[in-house]
């Protein structure tokens, strides 16, 4: 046994607290509670987008919301894999992966296996697939650093990257999530808040068309809370889409000169 244990040493990340304490950040009736980064409950982190992050791709974008940093590359439209059947409309292929150092504990990012299919479903409805028949558009995302609300950031960033690649869409897709912590709803939660949340709600929508492409609700919610959360998200989405649009406009006017 001693010989075997030597082959692969077991490691652990030394953390400041030996035992994880229950959230000191929140008590049930405590409305005066301050968020870890000092934001108001209904205040989003500043959003930053930049197109053309990866030159090898047809289109790409980098997004940074606080500590959440993602890169999305779009390839294609290009030949579908040989094994695929003939298709009148184009295919969308999505993949989300994490760097090993994205999460506080190494390699934890691979837990989010469902993100690839959720990204696919969020974008599918917005893309005019009939404009590239028989071919595939690949959307690949890499989370460089996970700071909370990863999937909404990936989705918004992917739609900017698709626009950068010149893929036809009905509208930009913006995504925002809220967390329910006791009696409060906080928008654009950071990692710490997400780990203590009672429930989460994420909306992905096309703000100009006022259409929702994806809505996920998990955990404990009451109907009025859901309404409140949805209103918050929809409002934030339309503001986020303006930021995304201005980033694209800037990039377009810079390339004109």
């Amino acid at each position: 046994m001693a010989g075997k244990a030597g082959a692969t040493p077991t490691t652990y990340t030394p953390s400041p607290k030996t035992q994880r304490k229950k959230p000191p950040i929140f008590k049930n009736d405590d409305v005066d509670w301050v968020r870890p980064d000092g934001r108001g409950f209904h205040q989003c982190r500043p959003a930053f987008f930049r197109t053309g992050a990866v030159n090898a791709a047809a289109g790409s974008a980098y997004a940074e919301f606080g500590n959440t940093k993602v890169i999305v590359s779009v390839f294609g439209p290009r030949e579908s894999k040989k094994a695929m059947m003939y298709s009148d409309i184009g295919r969308l292929n999505c993949n989300v992966s994490y760097t090993t150092f994205a999460t506080p504990i190494r390699g934890q990012g691979s837990d989010n296996k469902e993100f690839s299919s959720m990204l696919h479903k969020a974008l599918e409805g917005a893309i005019m697939l009939e404009t590239f028949p028989k071919t595939t558009v690949d959307v690949f995302a890499l989370v460089l650093e996970s700071g909370g609300s990863d999937l909404p950031v990936v989705i918004s960033c992917a739609s900017v990257a698709l626009a950068d690649a010149g893929i036809m869409m009905y509208d930009l897709v913006a995504s925002v999530s809220v967390s329910c912590l006791g009696k409060n709803i906080v928008i654009d939660p950071v990692l710490e808040e997400e780990s203590y949340q009672d429930g989460s709600l994420m909306i992905t929508c096309m703000p100009s068309r006022y259409e929702v492409t994806q809505l996920t609700i998990t955990g404990e919610w009451s109907t009025p809370k859901i309404n409140e959360g949805m209103q918050l998200c929809l409002d934030a989405c339309s503001k986020l889409a303006n930021i995304m649009r201005s980033c694209l406009k800037e990039a377009a006017s810079a390339s004109d000169e």
């Binding site: 090898a56 790409s60 760097t99 690949f140 996970s146």
Partner: protein, 307 residues
């Protein structure tokens, strides 16, 4: 330069439309580049210049940014031309091996995620990735990673991600690794009552004395810096782009340390055979490159200290 290209002397090449001289003179430069890449490049090389305007022996502009990843103990973002590498180091505590009780361990992994190149698809790792991973070794004295002899040592996970692949991947990967190690801040830790190592932070001071008050930085025994060159006929092209690598396939990678000693030399086959003289030329180019990179390093670090 560009207009000269169209006045090609089309002698060799079956089916090359220039034999009559009409088509190629009208051919767009871009189309010519795609259809006859090798001729396109050779035409440039004979004028001692490359399509991106560089002389043959010059590397692309290089930039360094330290501390790009907040969730890691040390990190660096390196750009050589368009090739972009992000390296980050995470430190974890392990029980050292029985055979080497006062040595730590370093695990290096080179990743090519599908975002970096149209050739990489998810689930199918790129061919070059393991090749690059393998070339890192002996950079650090593993004894420096020891905490408590026989009980605890550091395991350093170095992960290098290629964010944009445009040739000379190994050079960029190595530079980002070296830069990440130079940025590395080892957390101060102490042993608690149960014999586990915990991080000492300002508010949490009850775990006994710090084990590693002085050893917050890792010393590199040597700073390896590399340069990849393409050998093509009697030309030597330093720091090739992905396009150049795909057309002319003979690569030589030379790694030198800061005192100009040869660390490794790597020529993975290829159609052209290297003469001793051309290998020496590659080493001379690398020597120049080492100086260049050191200035970039010094500038970056002094720029960081000002902030």
């Amino acid at each position: 330069m560009v207009s000269q290209l169209q006045a090609q002397d089309g002698v060799e090449g079956i089916g090359y439309p220039n034999s009559s001289g009409d088509l190629s003179s009208e051919m767009e430069v871009d189309a010519f580049r795609r259809l006859f890449p090798l001729r396109f490049f050779e035409r440039h090389l004979s004028e001692s210049i490359r399509p991106d305007g560089r002389p043959l022996g010059r590397a692309r502009d290089t930039t360094l940014a330290l501390g790009a990843v907040a969730s890691a103990n040390g990190s660096a973002l390196v750009k050589i031309g368009l090739t972009t590498m992000l390296a980050a180091i995470k430190m974890e505590v392990m029980t050292p091996l029985k055979e080497s009780p006062d040595e730590g361990c370093i695990a290096v992994e080179f990743h090519m995620p599908p975002i970096c190149s149209p050739l990489v698809r998810p689930g199918r790792p790129a061919e070059v990735a393991p090749v690059v991973s393998k070339q890192f070794s002996g950079m650090i004295d593993l004894k420096d990673l020891s905490l408590v002899s026989g009980k605890a040592a550091w395991m350093a996970y170095l992960d290098i991600y290629c964010l944009d692949a445009d040739g000379s991947l190994f050079d960029a990967a190595l530079l980002s690794a070296v830069a990440a190690f130079s940025h590395l801040q080892i957390p101060v830790v102490s042993m608690n009552d149960e014999g586990r190592v915990i991080v000492v932070s300002e508010e949490n001071d009850g775990g006994g004395d710090a084990v590693n008050k002085e050893k917050r930085k890792l010393r590199l025994c040597r700073t390896p810096i590399s340069l990849t060159c393409i050998l093509h006929k009697n030309y030597i092209l330093a720091d090739p782009t992905a396009e150049e690598e795909s057309i002319m396939e003979t690569l030589v990678t030379v790694v030198l340390d800061s005192s100009d000693q040869l660390v490794s030399l790597y020529k993975p086959g290829g159609p052209a055979l290297a003469h001793t003289s051309s290998v020496q030329d590659c080493i001379a180019l690398t020597r120049q490159r080492v100086k260049e990179v050191q200035t970039i390093f010094d500038e970056t670090i002094s720029g960081m200290e000002v902030d």
